[in-house]
Structure formats: C-alpha cells, structure tokens
Symmetry: C2
Subunit: 141 residues, 2 copies
DNA sequence: GAAAATAAAATTGTGCACAATATAATGGTG
DNA sequence: CACCATTATATTGTGCACAATTTTATTTTC
C-alpha cells in the first residue's frame, strides 16, 4: 500500500505537473496577446471555423457553460469575439470572430514554436508524447 | 501557420485534456473520502513524511502559498491535519497529520488502482506515459 | 394547442492556480 | 544594536473548472 500511495509511483501527478508547466510556459507569450491559455484554446477553435455555438466549442474543448460563459464574455469585452442569439432558435448563442479576433491569429502564429523552445522539448519527444497521450485519451472515452 | 494553430496539431491540448480527465476520474473515489485531488496530493506528501513545512510541501507539488494556505486550512477544518508555527522560527508553519489524517491512508490505498481501472489504461501504457512525461518534465526544469 | 419533456445557456457556489503584494520574523552588517 | 536584506507565510484579486440549479426556448405528446 505504501508504495502505491507514493507520489513517485503515480502517473497522474507527472501529467498534472506537466500540464501546469506547459500552460505556464505559454503564459509570457500569451500575455503579449493579452489572453489566457483557455482563451487561446477557444480562439484556436474559432480560427478553424469562424462561427460556432457555445455547445460546439464546449464539445471540442470538453468545457461546460459554467466555464465558457464567463470566458466568452471576457473575450467579448476584449472585442475579440461577438456573442449573439441565433434568430431561428433563441436558446443558441453563436460565437463569431471580430476583425480583432481574426487579426490575432497572425500574432499567435509564432506561439507554439516559442513554447516548444521554452519547454526545451525535442520534436521527437513531442511526437512520442502526443502519440501516447492521445492513445490513452481515446481509449478512455 | 494554419496547421500549427490547429487544435489537433498541438501537444499541450491533449496533455491538458488528459490531466483534467484523470482528475475527473479521481473525483468519485475521492468524494467518498471527502477530499479533492490537490488535497489528496498534499496528504500523499504527508503520508510519506508526517511532519513537513508549507514550503516543503509546496516544493514537492510545485504549489505556492497562495494555493496551499487556503487548501491547508480546509484540510485543517476537516481535522485531517494540524497547522502550527514552529517555536524556534515563527515564520515557519509546520503541518502534521492528525489521527484522522493518518487513518485516511488506509481508505485511500485502493484509489490508484480504481482510477487506472476507471480510465481504462493498461499497465504498459501507464509505464510508457510515465516514462515520456517524466523525461519531458525533467528536461524542462 | 396546452402540458410535459427536452435542450441551451446562464447562474451560483466551491476550490484550485497563480501573480502581486503585504506582513511578520529572522539573520546578517556596519 | 539599529538597519537592511532575506525568508516564510498570508492576503488579495483574477480566471479557470466543475457540480448543481435556474431560466428560457423549443419540441414532443397527448
């Protein structure tokens, strides 16, 4: 029992640590764009497809309205997105990028590379990591 | 640029997702013990060494006082730990386990297995994952 | 077509993370 | 021994996560 309850025996603690470390590595670069990591994720989803509902964004990022509603309001306050109720179904809130939000994509383009560099991870390790993490993520759906 | 800013191209998003997924898998089991995942981490540190300062716990978990102080107060409120200033140096707060805190170790013993089972990860994938994640974590210190 | 079921967001409340600052105690240094 | 730097924790404020509930709109069913 002792052994299994040791921090070094756990697999989740390193993942939790790495996740935080990576997000912290993003911080200085994203601060230049005046956004946070979760906000960056939402913008990435929108850069791929300009118009999306709160639900669609939530499904892609596994985030619920309790997280997204205030986050989206902050992005709106920064004039990066617009929130508006769909005419044909007033329950749905549609999110679109503003010109500012679209323009930010250019500035964000260099971020992933910079972060990889800051973390000091090789492309090979990155691929390894991605492969195994994705495998485990999919297995446990 | 487009390619690099796609969610599926990122390595950090899967890690962030997996971290959250694992913590969520812990949730039902830890709820039975009436603790959260970060509280569980702190208790694990204490189960390995009964007396530790706030600083020592923070170094092991990479958490600062802004996170730990309120968390430790909650653990104290649950009567799982004691917080007391060190006599010889009043700046230091020493954390010790109460009998309740010690006793909880028995109940927590089965948790890691249950979580691995819940996630559906094989022992082999777990070892793979741990190896590569730890490698990247250490490289980027 | 009204009542019930369903669906989409929003709200509320708790608990991390983390930056920035504050408070208080200790340890040099001149 | 007074001053200053350092150390340890606490506090404040912002922004996620997430459970639980609420609100409002739509769809289904009788």
């Amino acid at each position: 029992m002792d052994e299994k309850l040791q921090l070094k025996s756990q697999v989740c603690f390193p993942i939790y640590s790495l996740s935080r470390k990576i997000i912290n590595s993003y911080r200085p670069f994203l601060e230049e764009l005046d956004i946070t990591y979760p906000q960056y994720l939402v913008l990435m989803v929108l850069w791929e497809n300009e118009l999306q509902t709160v639900n669609q964004i939530g499904e892609k990022l596994n985030l619920d309205s309790g997280t997204l509603t205030p986050l989206l309001k902050r992005l709106e306050a920064k004039t990066l997105i617009c929130r508006s109720r769909r005419r044909s179904d007033e329950r749905v809130v549609e999110i679109t990028l503003t010109d500012n939000g679209k323009a930010l994509k250019e500035k964000a383009a260099y971020v992933p590379e910079k972060v990889m560099e800051a973390i000091g991870i090789t492309r090979e390790d990155m691929e390894d990591l991605k492969r195994i993490v994705t495998k485990v993520l999919n297995r446990s759906k």
